[in-house]
Amino acid sequence: MNMKFGVVVFPGSNCDHDAYHVISKHVGQPVDFIWHKQTDLSSYDAIIIPGGFSYGDYLRAGALAQFSPVMQSVKEFAAQGKYVFGICNGFQILCEAGLLPGALIRNENLHFVCKHINIKVENPNTPFTTELSVNEVLSIPIAHAEGNYVCDDATYNSLEENNQIVFRYCDASGEVTSEANPNGSRANIAGICNFGGNVIGMMPHPERACEELLGSNDGRDIFRSLTNAIAKSE
């Protein structure tokens, strides 16, 4: 099967190399860095918007990156039903760009937080989660200062109704508790998808959880789901 991933590089992206490494080394698929001024995405099957501090996260995390030339192309790419995967800063950018609903604000305790946390699979039927089962608990690290997901009630209800909540923070046994919520996110939301399911954003870093050496390889099934989805859609 022939597929190609692209990892967008904004000025200030810093998990671009990590995403690239996982795709090339652990997923074993061709992957390119895509400079933020590039606008032709026609050769790609999936675009990863990686973590980092695009444009220094000045003004607001993700607020400036949405205006980069590549983002117009990412919107068109998503509109064609192709796969867009935002991780951490990428999730923030997708929300700012309007590709995902809601917003990510400062963590409740106002600190940057980096640690391994647990998330629970709420929807195993998205292109990013087919290799997972419902309620499965994954150990995946977070590293952010602005991961506190907020949205209004109407948005939240529609997320619920359409099964757009993909991951929630939970404890080791899968209980969704306030103690297990690392940043104050509404209803422990850790990741959501768009209505079509082809655009996903999540604060935890699955690319940091693809090897035993790093303490977890629970992230691999997310990437494996995505490659399966691409293979099927071809």
């Binding site: 810093n14 990590d18 220094g56 940057f112 980096c114 870093h205």
Partner: protein, 755 residues
């Protein structure tokens, strides 16, 4: 020669010159200097840049070894790790700015050390920090100490996280001597191919000189001079001398520099750190034996009306000076423009030895670079160790009444004490996993990052021990180097090289200078024993406020090599039923311990008066370390942990605690040492010991290896249940649920800081 009014004695004094030093300036120049030239000499001859009080001693440090590719003298030291890959690393202090403005002071400390590393062509893959503060519960300064700590941690997180380097380890330590005198020592390590190392040399007459990166502003003028004096009540008025950092710009600068280096267009490169444009141009020319001509009119500026003096002395961050191969400057400019950064040709390399600086068509400075560096003042300052030798006022610790007779309670007090409790409140604010190499999470004996390009991993730790150094600077330094090596060994790393940061009070005080010299001797002896040369470092003097100095605090950054990343081990016990053993021997070393302070209530001054540090035998230390490495190499042990502050009891408790993918486990321990008190056995801080655990079927092979190495080895118990129970000479000494111990240890610092 332009500008200027005549140089008055007041101006000479304001620039920190002694009469003799100014005489030397006149002699070198053969005339009265211009104000701009006076400024150049002032920063270049500051303690911070010239090492004028320390150079005479630093020469004694061992700096060569078969792995050393770049010894001290460049922006960072470079060491061979095999397969044509090298690591570049250095530690540097940012103590003074971090006191004046903790957030920016600490942030720019991180920024500066990262630039030092990527200037060498190395991509930074790990950072660490050694932080020292006054006690949080200090009656007078507690709130201030707490706000300095929070500011520094915030600043480090702000800079390192956005830049994208994992902050993988370090230490946080409290003592009253660091009240109003915080120490912030920042370490960074990068990897570089052996044939792609860059140097800060202005080679090639006719080559263009480019200014790249952020624009120059008026921030940080005379920062280096500020860092070369003690503080008084007016310290906060020095706030404008602290620079302001922008990690986003630095990240762009990193990527642009590495891309420009790969293009082959760069002949030499140097970051503008302390003393900015002045020191970068002078040092690059001096190293190459060339001259430079610079036109400041061309320098990108973010303020108007800046004088030549201000531009030369500005310490604006995120800037570099690049010497390009002639004709290839356009290529460099294009790469930097791609990253939205300024890159401007501001001068050229010329024959001779003079730095000529023009501004608006006028020659503002014309000085011989070699004289500025080679003829910088060098002092062999008076030394006096009599105060140390006169310590006779011994306090018998046996006579001190402990705050608790209950040893379980004593263990809990220690685990909850600021110097032993978990520092997770600090390190969870740092992104310690970006770049996906972090094989051991922060809080361990040493940090480990694997090197993706090889099958190797690098271990590293950053340690200081001001108390031991204050009691006996030479033995303290040996103990420190030994512990740093041991920390690397405990994760499977063979120590290969060292960077150091020597934090001291005023060198003009003979007792300080004596302890500095003794420290150098101690580091030398220990580094020679472990065959770990010093490849980079820095000296920070004048760490005193209102006449009170810090404890002499050398910081050792030791780097180790793990040939096979599968052989990394961690400190936690792994399985019920595993045996627990100690390599090394426990001796009568309670006098300078955390127990003496936390449970017996001795002040640091009393410890110093006592004059006793643990005894260290470097031969035994090497034996213990070699034995441990051999056990790891043969896949025989599953955990290793170095008992340091709090002794064996604390080390065993820490090994019981939970970690990622491992739940907490209990232990049943029986210790036998007829000649020592129970407290000494539990809480004494004898060096040269490692607590290991392994499955019982490995015991025979392990004993045999210990015996072959002539290494003291004793099985002391087994992993069992949910309690930590320790018997001493057959009698129950303590027993407590591990969950309770872990909770105390894990939460006590954050409870103090988040109250």
């Amino acid at each position: 020669m332009m500008n200027n009014s005549a140089i008055t004695p007041e101006m000479v004094a304001q620039h920190g010159f002694t009469t003799e030093e100014y005489e030397k300036v006149l002699q070198i120049m053969g005339r009265e200097p211009s104000l701009t030239e006076l400024g150049i000499f002032s920063v270049m001859w500051s303690e911070h840049c010239s090492y004028k009080s320390s150079r005479v001693h630093l020469g004694r440090l061992p700096t060569s070894g078969e792995r050393v590719i770049v010894p001290p003298g460049e922006n960072a030291g470079v060491v061979d790790i095999g397969d044509d890959w090298c690591v570049a690393f250095k530690v540097e202090s940012h103590n003074h700015p971090s006191f004046i403005e903790p957030f920016q002071g600490a942030a720019t400390g991180v920024g500066g050390i990262l630039r030092d590393v990527f200037t060498m062509g190395a991509r930074p893959i790990a950072a660490m920090n050694s932080l020292r503060f006054g006690p949080l519960n200090d009656e007078k300064h507690g709130n201030r100490n707490s706000s300095i700590l929070k500011g520094c941690v915030d600043g480090i997180a702000h800079y390192g996280n956005a830049f994208g380097v994992p902050t993988v380890g370090g230490e946080v330590f409290f003592d009253e001597s660091y009240s109003l005198n915080p120490l912030v020592n920042a370490f960074a390590l990068g990897i570089v191919r052996k044939d792609q190392i860059f140097f800060g040399k202005a080679t090639g007459v006719g080559n263009p000189v480019l200014y790249v990166g952020a624009k120059t502003g008026r921030d940080g003028i005379h920062g280096a001079t500020m860092a070369s004096a003690e503080f008084d009540e007016e310290a906060l008025e020095k706030r404008p001398t602290v620079q302001v950092g922008d990690p986003f710009l630095e990240k762009l600068l990193l990527e642009a520099c590495l891309e420009a280096m790969r293009s082959g267009a760069i002949a030499g490169i140097q970051d503008m750190g302390a003393a900015g444009l002045t020191s970068s141009s002078v040092e690059m020319a001096a190293r190459a034996g060339t001259g430079l001509e610079l036109d400041l009119t061309l320098v990108p500026q973010r303020e108007t009306g800046m004088t030549a003096y201000e531009m030369l002395l500005s310490e604006s961050q995120e800037r570099m000076l690049i010497v390009a191969h002639k004709g290839r400057e356009k290529q460099i400019v294009e790469i930097f423009n791609k990253w939205d950064l300024d890159a401007v040709v501001v001068g050229k390399v010329v024959e001779g030895n003079r730095l000529k600086v023009f501004h608006n068509g006028e020659l503002m400075a014309d000085i011989p670079v070699d004289a500025v560096t080679d003829e910088a003042p060098k002092y062999n300052r008076p030394m006096d160790g009599s105060k140390f030798k006169a310590q006779a006022a011994k306090i018998k610790i046996e006579d001190r009444k402990p705050k608790t007779e209950d040893r379980g309670e004593a263990l809990k007090m220690l685990l909850a004490s600021p110097n032993i409790s978990s520092k997770r409140w600090v390190y969870q604010q740092y992104d310690h996993m970006v770049r996906t190499n972090t094989a051991i999470l922060p809080g361990a004996d040493a940090a480990v990052v694997r090197v993706k390009e090889t099958r190797r991993a690098i271990s590293m730790c950053l340690d200081g021990n001001g108390k031991f150094s204050a009691i006996n600077p030479k033995e303290g330094a040996k103990l420190l180097v030994a512990e740093s090596a041991r920390n690397n060994v405990c994760v499977g790393g063979k120590p290969i090289a060292v960077t150091n940061c020597l934090n001291f009070a005023s060198p003009e005080r003979p007792e300080v200078m004596w302890s500095f010299s003794e420290t150098i001797d101690g580091i030398k002896e220990a580094c020679e024993a472990f065959e770990t040369p010093i490849v980079s470092g820095n000296v920070s003097f004048y760490n005193e406020t209102e006449g009170r100095g810090i404890l002499p605090t050398p910081t050792i950054g030791m780097v180790g090599l793990i040939e096979d990343a599968r052989k990394i081990i961690t400190s936690g016990f792994k399985a019920e039923g595993d045996l627990i053993a100690v390599l090394g021997e426990t001796k009568n070393d309670l006098a300078a311990s955390e127990y003496a302070q936390v449970v017996l209530g001795l002040t640091t001054d009393e410890l110093i008066a006592n004059g006793e540090v643990p005894r260290i035998d470097l031969n035994l230390e090497k034996t213990v370390q070699q034995t441990c490495l051999s056990l790891i190499d043969n896949f025989l042990i599953d955990s290793a942990h170095d008992p340091s502050e709090g002794g064996l009891a604390v080390a065993i408790a820490e090994s019981c605690f939970s970690s990622l993918n491992h739940k907490a486990l209990g232990a049943e321990i029986e210790l036998k040492e007829a000649a020592l008190s129970a407290e000494t056995i539990l809480f004494g801080e004898s060096p040269s010991r490692i607590v290991v655990s392994f499955s019982a079927d490995k015991l025979e092979r392990i004993s045999a290896i210990a015996e072959e190495n002539n290494c003291p080895f004793a099985v002391i118990g087994k992993v069992s249940g949910e309690n930590l129970s320790i018997k001493i000479n057959g009698e129950a000494a303590l027993s407590a649920p591990v969950a309770e111990l872990e909770n105390l240890w894990a939460t006590s610092l954050e409870n103090k800081l988040e109250k």
